[in-house]
Amino acid sequence: MRVVIAEDQVLLREGLVRLFEDRGHTVVAALGDATALLAAVAEQVPDLVVLDIRMPPTFTDEGARAARAVKDAHPGVGVLVLSQHVEARYAVGLVTLGGFGYLLKDRVLDVGEFLAAAGRVAGGGSALDPHVVGTLLAAQGTTDPVAALSARERDVLALMAEGLTNTAIARRLVVSERTVEGHVRHLLIKLGLAEVEDGHRRVLAVLAHLRHSALPAPSTQPGPSWP
């Protein structure tokens, strides 16, 4: 992969460069802010752009605007946005695009998964953090999408999240493959994902499930503590 990195913090930028280079990828440009990003992309035409959502000068949405600009100018270039926490308002317009990823920064420590996600994005797929997906579904007005599913649909969704194919799911639940296909179709409709391109919507559905099942025990949820 040919990668362009834009990250204002020097140590983190160096770390990302080495991360990619250690695994045999080529970092063609490592930038400290978003101003020269578009020019670097136009010049290098990389497979992937990795960028921080907050960058100088204002540390608000420079990264998000740069990501949008890169996708507009070079739809074929994958864009992976890194963020310290989920900032839904900047991601809303981007996630439905192919070749886009939005991950929390600490995901980079899980090198294998991070590089796999980067590879998916570079190849035109999605890589959305479960937190991002949850927030985005909420932003689309779908409240608690998983709660609307039947018990059997939830089982199917959980197995999809484990990476099982329809055939494997049918075997596990001891039902016919056509039944599983029906459940998958229904749950995708209920989750409001029917209009999205197939592979991508499957990812969203699975991530929605992850978000739901990852909830801690009720006693500490919901909401933050408030002294």
């Binding site: 310290q84 929390l104 420590l109 608690d144 609307a148 919901p222």
Partner: protein, 663 residues
């Protein structure tokens, strides 16, 4: 004209003695007046009625004294000059008259002659005094000919008396006639008399005209002269009714005559005449009372005389007892009636204040309506009531209801005090005195209540403002802390983790590489902990607006939460408060409500944000039960909002919060 008003009230305390050495001539004139007046008494004694011997010198001294007092304060005031002059002329006339009684003394006839016309000159000048009262000038351009006319009339009548036979029969001329008379000049005296009568009528008319145009202190000054007219109207007819021989009436007249110069003097020198109205009303009531008692006495005496056969001591005693019994109840009624008739404004105003106080006690009126009431009652639409809160120091220091200065717009300030505490300052254009002083003192309780309310409101506003500032500061601090955690510690941990990954990569398959795996996992855990911590301090979704934040919150709840939110842009503090309320409410629902569904609504109502969290659980929640709810109420209260918990047992719980959105 204004310059002639004394710069009261500071001068009130000036000691006249200090002025004596500075103004020798006025003092000398009074001394001369006194000497002449005193000297006249032994000369006249036994040769005229005793009352005349006492009364006229007394009048002369009163005139001269009043004139001096005015001249000491207002050296150029024409009324002062006139009164001092009149006093001297009157004393001189007495002296000349007394000398003239002694026929055998040299030039006694000439003394009689001088007394005959100089006395008239003095009497006629009364019209001039009235025309110039109270400021020493004619009432206006249309009246400017009046003072010269009165002077002319006085001069004419005096000249006529001096040169004609008109007064030949009077007791002044002991030998029968005017020694210096010129035949045919009687007509001059007649013309002078007529002119004097006209000038007197016109002077009174000018006073009435002045009164109708006047207000404030000027009006009070004029009222004092009208009070004198009232007294004269009561005593005059009594004197004319043939009681002339009565010693009582003579003494009354003796006391009355010096009253005019005294009244004039007081009216001019006292800047604010608070009690003139009371004085007039009381005079009228006592006059009426006297008349009524006389009628009662007479009627009883007639009745008893008819029954008992007249003339007995029993009749007199019975009539007196009846009259005495009638005094008290009659006095109250007469005074009430007079108050109603002559002090209607005061009577009406006090009645209104009383009604208001009653309403205030009964809770039908608010203390805040006080200013409006005072404007209404005193007919002073510009009146302002400024309540003096305890921490404010009073603008002026005075006792009771003290008067301050008057500004160029004719407004003056009055301080209202109760038990030595300055309660309020009233700015008004109505004059001091009646009915202002009475109304303010009657409204004292209401003013005190209004002031206490204002003080409480003020303190509450301060507390609320400081609470809001504290909340805002906390809010900002949380945001800063959250940002620091994200951009500082978390970033550095990620960098450190990446560095370790790089080291791990270079170590290859060595055992140390596997050890590093644990360390990196640990760092990942620390980053997640930090994110949770930052989220607790300042939830990240808050940056995305309330609607998204609520949906995010609902999405994380372990039970179905329906969100209906449409609230537009909101102040940051309101978003945070609403979010925390929703979060706490959802936590409570999960913990206690045993609910199967929750509805979360957020909308704008009249500019306020209204947030409600409703569940279908078991209800019966008590506000005091959770300290979390207490904290929410505090947070909401700090923003000036209200929190309501509606939780009937078995019928679900609804928590509603209304937050004002003024940022």
């Amino acid at each position: 004209m204004l310059a002639l008003l004394p710069p009261a009230p500071a001068t009130r305390d000036d000691h006249p003695v200090a002025d004596l050495c500075l103004r020798p001539r006025p003092v000398a004139l009074l001394v001369a007046t006194c000497v002449a007046a005193v000297a006249s008494a032994p000369l006249s004694a036994g040769r005229e009625p005793v009352i005349d011997t006492a009364l006229y010198p007394l009048n002369a001294v009163a005139l001269g004294g009043a004139g001096l007092l005015i001249r000491l304060r207002l050296p150029r005031h024409r009324v002062g000059l006139l009164l001092a002059g009149l006093g001297f002329v009157a004393a001189f006339v007495e002296l000349a008259e007394g000398y003239g009684y002694h026929d055998s003394w040299p030039a006694a006839l000439t003394a009689q002659w001088v007394a005959s016309w100089a006395g008239l000159l003095g009497a006629a000048t009364t019209a001039t005094v009235l025309a110039l009262f109270p400021d020493g000038h004619a009432p206006g351009r249309r009246w400017r000919w009046l003072p010269p006319f009165t002077v002319g009339a006085s001069a004419t009548v005096a000249l006529g008396a001096a040169l004609s036979h008109a007064n030949d029969g009077s007791y002044t001329f002991t030998r029968g006639g005017n020694p210096y008379a010129i035949d045919g000049l009687d007509v001059l005296y007649t013309v002078g008399e007529g002119a004097f009568a006209v000038s007197l009528v016109l002077a009174v008319a000018s006073l009435v005209a002045r009164f109708r145009r006047s207000d404030g202190a000027r009006r009070q000054q004029l009222k004092l002269i009208f009070w004198f007219a009232c007294v004269l109207a009561v005593v005059g007819p009594a004197a004319a009714l043939g009681f002339n021989g009565s010693v009582v009436v003579q003494v009354a007249i003796a006391l009355l005559v010096p009253l005019l110069p005294v009244a004039i003097c007081v009216a001019i020198l006292r800047y604010r005449l608070y009690d003139v109205d009371v004085l007039i009303a009381r005079t009228i009531s006592y006059a009426a009372l006297t008349v009524l008692l006389a009628i009662a006495w007479g009627a009883t005496a007639l009745l008893l005389g008819g029954l008992l056969g007249g003339g007995s001591a029993w009749v007199t005693a019975g009539a007196t007892i009846a009259a005495a019994a009638a005094v008290l109840p009659l006095r109250r009624r007469v005074q009430d009636a007079v108050d109603r008739a002559f002090r209607r404004a005061r009577h009406h105003a006090l009645a209104q204040v009383d009604r208001y106080l009653e309403d205030l006690r009964a809770g039908r009126a608010a203390a805040g309506e006080l200013e409006g009431l005072l404007r209404d009652v005193l007919r002073d639409p510009g009146l302002q009531l400024r309540l003096l809160l305890p921490e404010e120091s009073p603008p002026t220091v005075a006792a009771g209801i003290a008067a301050g200065a008057t500004d160029s717009a004719g407004r003056s300030r009055t301080l209202v005090e109760r038990s030595g505490v300055a309660l309020a300052e009233v700015t008004h254009t109505v004059p001091d005195g009646e009915p202002l002083a009475d109304v303010l003192s009657r409204a004292g309780l209401a003013i005190e209540i209004a002031r206490l309310q204002a003080a409480v409101r003020h303190q509450l506003a301060e507390v609320e403002a400081s609470r809001a500032r504290i909340v805002a500061a906390t809010h900002e601090e949380r945001r800063r802390l959250g940002r620091d955690l994200h951009d500082g510690a978390q970033q550095r941990l990620v960098s450190a983790g990446l560095a370790l990954r790089h080291v791990q990569h270079r170590l290859g398959d060595q055992p140390a590489a596997r050890d590093l795996e644990t360390v990196v996992a640990e760092i990942g855990g620390a980053i997640r902990d930090l994110r949770e911590l930052a989220n607790g301090i300042r939830p990240a979704p808050l940056d995305d607006g309330l609607e998204l934040a609520l949906r995010e919150l609902a999405g994380r709840a372990p039970l179905p939460v329906r969100v209906q939110a449409a609230c537009g842009p909101l102040p940051d503090a309101v978003v945070a408060a609403a979010y925390f309320v929703a979060a706490e409410a959802l936590t409570n629902v999960v913990k206690h409500a045993a609910a199967s569904a929750v509805e979360l609504r957020a909308s704008r109502e009249e500019g306020d944000l209204v947030l409600s969290v409703r569940d279908d659980g078991i209800g019966g929640a008590r506000p005091a039960a959770g300290s979390g709810l207490r904290g929410l109420a505090d947070r909401v209260g700090a923003l000036g909002g209200r929190l309501r918990l509606d939780s009937p047992a078995g019928a679900g719980t609804t928590l509603t919060v209304r937050l004002p959105c003024v940022s």
